[in-house]
């Protein structure tokens, strides 16, 4: 079977996206209270129950999407969900960035890499909402790109 470099790249991107989602999910599940604190810090105009619900559910959405992407199962659905999720994160981090909120994005646990002790400045930068906004935008783009590729492939198959 001849697999083009483009398809190879899509597979790699999908795997990386899946791993990233798993990392984000495990980081949040390990300390839900801290994740809730991060959500509160965004000062979103939503009732506390909605924010608490988001703190409880979002990590699991990330976890399931990550697993689905890695397993290659329900991939278009997982990609669509990830794209939507990333756009949501883009909106949240974007409004925080625009308002000048000096908060931690609450996205990943960088302690796994041992960074907080070695490079505290880098950690602060990586946890800033400005960086998180750009990263989420990039991830939304990657998920959208993969989704579009699958759509086109699907349509090509359907037309045959």
């Amino acid at each position: 079977m001849n697999i083009s470099p483009r398809r190879n790249m899509s597979g790699v991107l999908r795997g990386l996206l899946g791993l990233l989602l798993l990392w984000a999910a495990v980081s949040k599940l390990a300390n839900p209270t801290e994740f809730l604190g991060s959500i509160y810090a965004y000062e979103l105009p939503l009732p506390p129950a909605a924010l608490q619900g988001a703190a409880i559910i979002l990590p699991w959405v990330e976890l399931l999407c990550g697993l689905l992407l890695l397993a290659g199962f329900w991939t278009p659905t997982a990609l669509a969900l990830v794209t939507g999720l990333m756009m949501l994160f883009v909106a949240a981090t974007g409004q925080a960035w625009a308002r000048g909120l000096d908060i931690s994005c609450g996205c990943f646990n960088l302690e796994i890499l041992g960074l907080p002790n070695r490079l505290p400045g880098l950690v602060k930068f990586m946890e800033s909402v400005g960086f998180a906004f750009c990263r989420n935008l990039l991830l939304a783009g990657v998920a959208g790109y993969l989704l579009r590729g699958m759509l086109r492939a699907s349509q090509a198959i359907a037309e045959e």
């Binding site: 079977m1 604190g37 703190a55 409880i56 329900w74």
Partner: protein, 237 residues
């Protein structure tokens, strides 16, 4: 079909039969053909609902079972709504003088604390929960929760005072004016990945010139893991 399959199609096609897709689209393993004909098909909507529904079920189940879970439904109007019952904590309550203007001396040697103050005057030392717990139980320290107020309301260490990091300076001054000057202030935030407590501890020393300040490195998570995962035991005499 001569068309080479996508990697995701090949993977799924081996282990799972093709799901029923849109009636107009040929079946395609993994649901790829579900997008045929434009927008989301019913199949995709069902899959989305399944993922979200499963996430809700897993999330609330895990949260209910986890000792470090979020207390769902806690609001600012229900302070102290920590998920596990606070009565399980064996630590006695803080002395009554914590927020009173009539302040007796804490039961400790002031000279010892004063000498400690000289050691931590510029860079507050970290402290772990077992030591902090002993200090608070002995009336030698007071806990300050520097996380946002909403998070404090959602759960905090019993006896702690909420003093969010972004509070106006007069709140810090008011709080400190109510404490004996030889009482140690221990700041805590969420966990080791949170630097708020260290920052507030620095401010307490360098901006408000409080002599004895430390910060709890493990934060609220360390307390939860140490206290809320243990079975309830009667307070030791």
């Amino acid at each position: 079909m001569n068309q080479p399959r996508q990697p995701w199609q090949a993977k799924v096609g081996v282990s799972r039969p093709a799901p029923a897709i849109s009636p107009k689209a040929p079946a395609s393993p993994g649901g790829g053909g579900a997008f045929s004909g434009g927008g989301f098909s019913r199949q995709i909507m069902l899959q989305l609902l399944a993922i979200v529904g499963l996430s809700c079920a897993l999330g609330f189940t895990f949260n209910a079972a986890s000792p470090v879970g979020v207390h769902f439904g806690a609001t600012s109007a229900s302070p102290g709504a920590v998920k596990a019952e606070e009565e399980t904590l064996t630590m006695p309550a803080l002395p009554a003088y914590k927020n009173s203007n009539a302040l007796p001396s804490p039961p400790t040697a002031p000279g010892k604390l004063a000498s400690l103050a000289t050691n931590v005057s510029l860079h507050p030392a970290p402290v772990h929960w077992p030591e902090a717990k002993a200090l608070v139980a002995a009336g030698r320290a007071v806990l300050v929760d520097v996380r946002p107020k909403a998070l404090f309301d959602a759960g905090h260490i019993p006896g702690a005072t909420s003093l969010p990091e972004n509070s106006p300076p007069q709140d810090f001054t008011t709080f400190l004016s109510q404490q004996p000057t030889n009482l140690m202030v221990i700041a805590y935030c969420s966990s080791t990945s949170c630097s708020l407590s260290a920052r507030v501890a620095d401010r307490l020393v360098n901006e408000f010139h409080w002599p004895v300040v430390r910060y709890m490195t493990g934060g609220y998570l360390e307390y939860q893991q140490a206290e809320l995962t243990k079975p309830a035991t009667p307070p030791s005499p």
